[in-house]
Structures are given as C-alpha cells and as structure tokens.
C-alpha cells in the first residue's frame, strides 16, 4: 500500500537540533553537538512509527523537539498542517493537548508529592476540558476513574501516591496521564525499557489496544529492536543524528538496505539456541563517531564494511601522492616497535604518508572518497523504502532484484 495518497498527522522536514557545547570565553573553542541533523519523516493517522538507534543517536532529542520541549534549531514540524516550529511557546498550549508524551523512567516522571488523581487530572485542568460542563468537578473525577480503570488500575488507587506502586503500575499512571486529554499523537520515549520482561508485554498490549479503540497515532522510540519491530508499522533507523533508513517494519527486517541497519539487525540476540544466523553475524568494529562538529561525510563511513577500497601501487611516489588527504581504513602498527602509525579512520597527512612509505608499504585499505567527503541523502530506493547511502544499489544487487 502506498502511503503517498494519505495525509500525514505529523510531518517532520529537515529537523535540526544542535546544542552549543563551546568552552572558554577567550580562545573560544566552537563545539556544536548535532543531536538531530536534518531529518525528515512522516507519520500517518493510526500508525505506529518506530524510531530506533543506539544510545546518543538523537532519537530521544527528536521526540522532545517534536513536542517542543526543545526549541528546534532548524526545519519544520507540521502537525495537522500547522508548523509548530514557528509557533511561539506561549501559543503552544492547544497543540500540546493533541500531542502527549510517555516517558522512560516511571520513577522520575511522576511527581512524588501529587496523588494519582492530581497527576492524571493536571492535564484536564490545564486545558480546561470540562469547563463547560454543569459540574466540572464531577466530570473530571468520573473521567479520571474511567481512565484509571482502562489502564488496569482501580478507583481506590486514585487517592494514592506514586511510591505506593510498582514500576509497571507507575508506567500505567504515566499512560493514564497522557490519555486524559484525548490526544491524537503520543510520543512514547522508551516506555518499557525500565520495566521487567514479564511486565513489558502487559504495557505493549495495552498501548496496542488503545490505538485500536481510539485511533491513536504513536511515535515509538526505543532501542529494543525486537519490541520496535513488534509494535511498529514503519520504522526509522537513526545513527548519530541522521536517519539512515526508513521502511515498513517487515521490509526493514527482511530487506535491510543500509549497511548500518544490516549490522544492527544482525546483532540482536535471538532467543533460540539452535539459531545458526549468529555465525554470519556482522560484528561492527570500533565505536560510534562523535556527534560534535561532525565532518561533512556519511556518519557511518568509519565503521562501514562497504566504504573500504584497497589501493596498491608499484611506485612509492605514486603511492604517496595517491594516499595523501585520503582516510585510512586499517590500523597500521610499526613492524618492529609495534607503535601505532595510523589508525582506522585517520586522515593521511603528507607527514603520515612518509611514515607509511618508510615502513615499506605499497598497499593500504582506504576509505572511499564519496563516503568520506559527501553526506548521503535519504532517497526513496523502492516505493516507501528510504535509504541514505551512496552505494545502496551496488551493495544490494540481490535484494533489489
């Protein structure tokens, strides 16, 4: 089914959120953390859009910027056709009613000095939902009871305080709070990560039931890939502030096209001791690149299997010319002293090139120029399947047939 004919509930265009981490007053050192860097996606009515990625990839910042807990640095956030990015803070209230959030930590996200009634009822009061009723107090109380029962709590819980509940029950209170104002979109930021395995399924099933009953739309942020696959209709994969791939959840798991998605999916531990796939596992080398002052290149290029090319030259002067200003994709240790000459991902300066030649090398693995010098754009490779990689077609010949 093509999504192009439908109208999205939420459309994010070129969203950016940078944090200034500069230090010093004199000798100021510019340090810009690009938490979310130019990402675009759409979420359609009644669907669940999953946002996955490793810690620090900017998925939580994306969620928080959409609801404008953070002021976006650039781009637009179209919610029902209105660009929230242009709306000043004081006029945001009516939009916040339609957009609610469920937080990760059920211990930190509920005020310990408020009763359950006050927590759940706060949104109702702020938005004056029952102001036109004959008896707003009664209507409010009835609504709170109704919601508490729908999330599996009891009426008598209404007068209790958060510390009297278990983690799973607290998360239910958090969900009740989000539902109290009848929102259209709920941003679920790792809603089950802090819960025990046997409780996670209870909460996920409940979220699914509410979606069916009330036609809710979810943005589901999580790092647990199995759970995201389970709950989402479509999924976006983030890596260091960028969207790498967006596809329907089945497509993404059956046909991952981006090298990062391939590696990410193959690292999920499978609860089956006879599973043989682990033998073909792509184990990524190295660590995540820093989001501070990133270079204009693919964020994944320093870890990517497909960004490598081998250069071999007979003549050492040719070799020297060809490796200068390129990036190494291997670790070279000095054969005798075992000292590090050049590391994976390092720029080869003229001085370094001389060192490499001095140890008698004429062959080296380099990073492909395109990957290291140009940011790949998110492009629709097959219908409703977007990938940000320079070599998508080349590395997926079999999958794209």
């Amino acid at each position: 089914m093509s999504k192009t004919t439908e109208k999205p509930v939420l459309e994010v265009r070129n969203l950016k959120k940078y944090f200034d981490k500069s230090k010093g007053f004199f000798n100021r050192e510019e340090k810009i953390l690009t938490a979310v860097d130019d990402i675009s996606f759409k979420i359609y009515k009644g669907e669940t859009f999953g946002l996955v990625g490793e810690s620090g990839c900017g998925k939580t910042t994306t969620g928080r910027t959409i609801i404008k807990l953070y002021e976006p640095t650039g781009g637009s956030i179209l919610f029902d056709g209105v660009d929230l990015a242009t709306i000043p803070e004081k006029d945001m209230l009516p939009y916040r009613k339609d957009m609610q959030m469920i937080f990760q930590d059920p211990y930190a996200s509920l005020n310990g000095r408020m009763t359950v009634t006050d927590i759940v009822g706060e949104g109702i009061d702020t938005h004056g939902i029952f102001d036109d009723e004959d008896d707003p107090e009664l209507a409010r109380q009835e609504k709170i009871y109704e919601i508490l029962e729908s999330v599996g709590l009891k009426r008598e819980h209404a007068s209790r305080y958060p510390h009297e509940f278990s983690g799973g029950q607290r998360q239910r209170i958090g969900i009740a709070r989000a539902l109290a104002v009848d929102p259209k979109l709920i941003i679920c930021d790792e809603p089950i990560s802090a819960l025990d395995v046997s409780i996670q399924a209870q909460v996920v099933n409940m979220l699914e039931d509410f979606q069916k009953d009330k036609g809710l739309t979810y943005l589901f942020i999580a790092h647990d890939l199995s759970m995201v696959k389970h709950i989402s209709d479509r999924i976006g994969v983030m890596y260091v502030g960028k969207l790498m791939e967006v596809a329907s959840s089945d497509d993404l798991y059956l046909k991952p096209l981006h090298p990062y998605t391939k590696a990410l999916l193959s690292s999920i531990p499978v609860p089956d001791p006879d599973n043989k796939d682990t033998e073909n596992r792509i184990v990524l080398e190295g660590d995540v690149t820093s989001p501070i002052n990133p270079k204009p290149r693919c964020r994944f290029c320093t870890r990517c299997e497909y960004s490598k090319e081998v250069l071999e030259e007979e003549s050492s002067s040719n070799f020297r010319d060809k490796i200068i200003n390129r990036y190494s994709r291997e670790i070279i240790l000095h054969p005798e002293t075992h000292e590090l000459v050049v590391t994976d991902g390092q720029l080869i300066t003229p001085a370094l090139a001389d060192k490499i030649i001095n140890i008698g090398l004429n062959k080296i693995t380099l990073g492909k120029e395109k990957c290291f010098n140009e940011v790949p754009k998110l492009k629709e490779v097959i219908p409703d399947h977007f990938v940000a990689c320079h070599f998508t077609k080349k590395i997926n010949k079999d999958l794209l047939k």
Partner: protein, 343 residues
C-alpha cells in the same frame, strides 16, 4: 563430563531492613563444571545478583549468608573449599585470582582518578610476583587480547577517555589477568548498545575457550542467554524455578514461569502475534507468598501451590523443574509431560 568446580547447596541469603527480613535468595542449589557458561536469568529482584555476590562472599551488612554452602575448587585437584566459611584473608586470596567478576556499569566499577594502567597493574601485582615492568607488559598484552586497538598508547588513558564498550573490554582484561577458573559476569552488556553487546559476547566466548575458564553470566535477556550460555538457571522470587541445558530451557521448558517468559517476548524473526504477558507483578520479598512464589501469577496454580513449596523435580538427566505439575499425583496439563518415574 568435565570436572565440577563450583557446588552451591541450599544457599540462603537475607538482608535485614527496618521493614523486616528480605529473603533475597531462598534455598538454592546448582553446580558448575569446568568450561561451562552458566546463564542465570531472572527479573529484577529475583535474586540473581545476590547469588553471584554470595559466591564472591561480598555480602555485607545488613545482609548475611544465612545458610547453605558454596564449595569451590580453586585448583586442578578436587580440593573443595567452602567460601561461606572462609576468613577475610583467605577469601581475598581467591577473589581476583581464582574467581573474578565484571559488573554491569563499567564506569562506576573503575576508579575515575587512576589510569587504566595503574588499575590493571595493581590487580596483577596483587596476585602475582611480576615486577612493575612485567606487569605493565602483561596489562598491554591483555588489552590487545580483548581488542583495544592501540594498547601501547591507550593504556595510559583514564577511564573517561574510553567509550562504554572499551571500558567493558578493559574490565574484562583486568578480570582475566590472573587466568581465573571462574568469571562472574553480572549483566555485562546491559548498559551497552546491541552492536557493542555483540562484540562483548563474542569476546567472552572466545576467552572462555582460550583459557578454559567457566563463566556465570547473569542477565535478564533471554536472547543473550540463548547465544552465550551452555546451561541455564531460571530464578524467580529468590528461588530457582528451573534449571537445565540451554536447549532444555528453550526447547522444552517445564516450568510455567519459563514458558510465560518465552511467550511474553517478541522476536524479530517470527511473525507478528499478540504478546501473551504474565499477568500480575513480581512478589514482594519482604512478604513472599506461601507455597510456590509464582503461584499468584501462574495459569495452572492448584491449591497445593498456595500451601506448600514444591521440591525440585528431576525432568531428565540434565533438567529439573520446581513445580507441582511434575508430581505424579498432579492432574495432567496440556504441554507438560511428567517425567517417567518422577521422584
């Protein structure tokens, strides 16, 4: 079968709080043989970490090992010693040398004001006769073994200069520095991302093979267990519910809790089906339910389950389950095959 190196029998560990006694571990027994990776799986509060701390004799006031024995064989001949009866000095000879441990959070487990080198050399020199120079050489060698790209240059870094995955590697390098017979890994990958988790699990399996140590791997993630463990202990409410080989536990689980866990997790490979949660919530260890700790949430609970705790029934040579359904007098329940000649 390879040699037994650890035998935990009827272990009971409690903590005394102002609200009363928390029975964190209640009467558990298991064995560990050389070269095995024993996965202990359970939810928070099930007693899996307290079990491992008891094996290290690291339970401190207000906690206490109330009963049972933990017999460990530190050398090749079968000289077993009871860890629960050792003095502080005796145990510190064993700790870090024959048994070592890695923790969930590699940042808090390392001292932030000392260089990686100093922390590793301290451990190596504490347990060997190496001089400082040799100890540094050994530390560099270990860092290389666990996949730190430039041990020569990075050994003089401070922990904060390492990423989470690298810190965990440095922790593992320190833990294996004296070739321990037993390594206890308490949620070693929980704080890490999946791609880094894959690297660390790979590394643990490789090392286990290479230096023939045994590992106790504590985790709440069934996927991690299936991938790394050879044997599994399933804990709930401070007790062992079921134990067996990894295939027993995944292909033929014989305890309703183990089955409940399997059904409540989605898998990326299987088709989308509605999850079947375990209803209710984990027990309060201050006031655990009488009988089986799982009875309030168990779909097959009978009257006896609420009155008396079942014994560990032998299902097969390798598997046992602590469930009344395994008793010969219990009614038949679909899917649960009672062992022949069950005792």
């Amino acid at each position: 079968m390879s040699k037994k190196i650890l035998e935990v029998k009827n272990l009971e560990t409690s903590f005394y709080t102002h609200l009363g006694e928390v029975q964190a571990v209640r009467n558990i027994s298991f064995d560990l043989h050389q070269g095995e990776i024993l996965g202990i799986v359970g939810e928070s509060g099930s007693g899996k970490s307290v079990t491992s701390l008891s094996v290290m004799n690291l339970i401190e006031d207000p906690g206490e090992i109330k009963g049972g024995s933990i017999r460990f064989s530190p050398n090749v001949d079968d000289n077993f010693i009871d860890i629960t009866k050792m003095t502080r000095e005796q145990i510190s000879q064993i700790r870090g040398n024959d048994i070592s441990m890695i923790f969930q959070d590699p940042m808090t487990a390392m001292n932030p004001v000392f260089k990686i080198q100093n922390q590793m050399v301290e451990v190596i020199q504490r347990h060997t006769d190496l001089n400082k120079e040799d100890a540094i050489r050994r530390a560099k060698d270990l860092l290389g073994q666990v996949g730190i790209p430039d041990p020569e240059g990075q050994i003089t870094d401070y922990p904060f200069q390492f990423s989470g995955g690298m810190r965990q590697r440095a922790m593992i390098a320190t833990a294996i520095s004296c070739n321990p017979r037993l390594l206890i890994a308490d949620e070693p990958t929980t704080a890490l991302d999946v791609t880094i988790q894959a690297q660390i699990l790979e590394l643990l399996k490789k090392l286990q093979n290479k230096i023939d140590m045994s590992i106790i791997l504590i985790t709440h993630d069934l996927g991690v267990i299936a991938e790394a463990a050879t044997h599994v202990v399933v804990m709930y409410g401070g007790q062992i519910m079921e134990k067996g080989t990894v295939r027993d536990i995944f292909n033929n689980p014989m305890h309703p809790y183990t089955r409940g866990l399997h059904k409540s997790i989605p898998t990326a490979t299987k088709e989308k089906k509605r999850l079947i949660p375990i209803e209710g919530s984990p027990p309060d260890l201050l006031d655990p339910p009488t009988g089986c700790p799982f009875n309030p949430r168990c779909p097959h609970a009978m009257t006896i389950c609420t009155e008396e705790s079942p014994k560990m029934y032998t299902v097969s040579d390798t598997q046992s389950s602590k469930c009344w359904l395994m008793d010969e007098k219990a009614p038949k329940v679909k899917g649960y095959k009672k062992p022949k000649g069950a005792k």
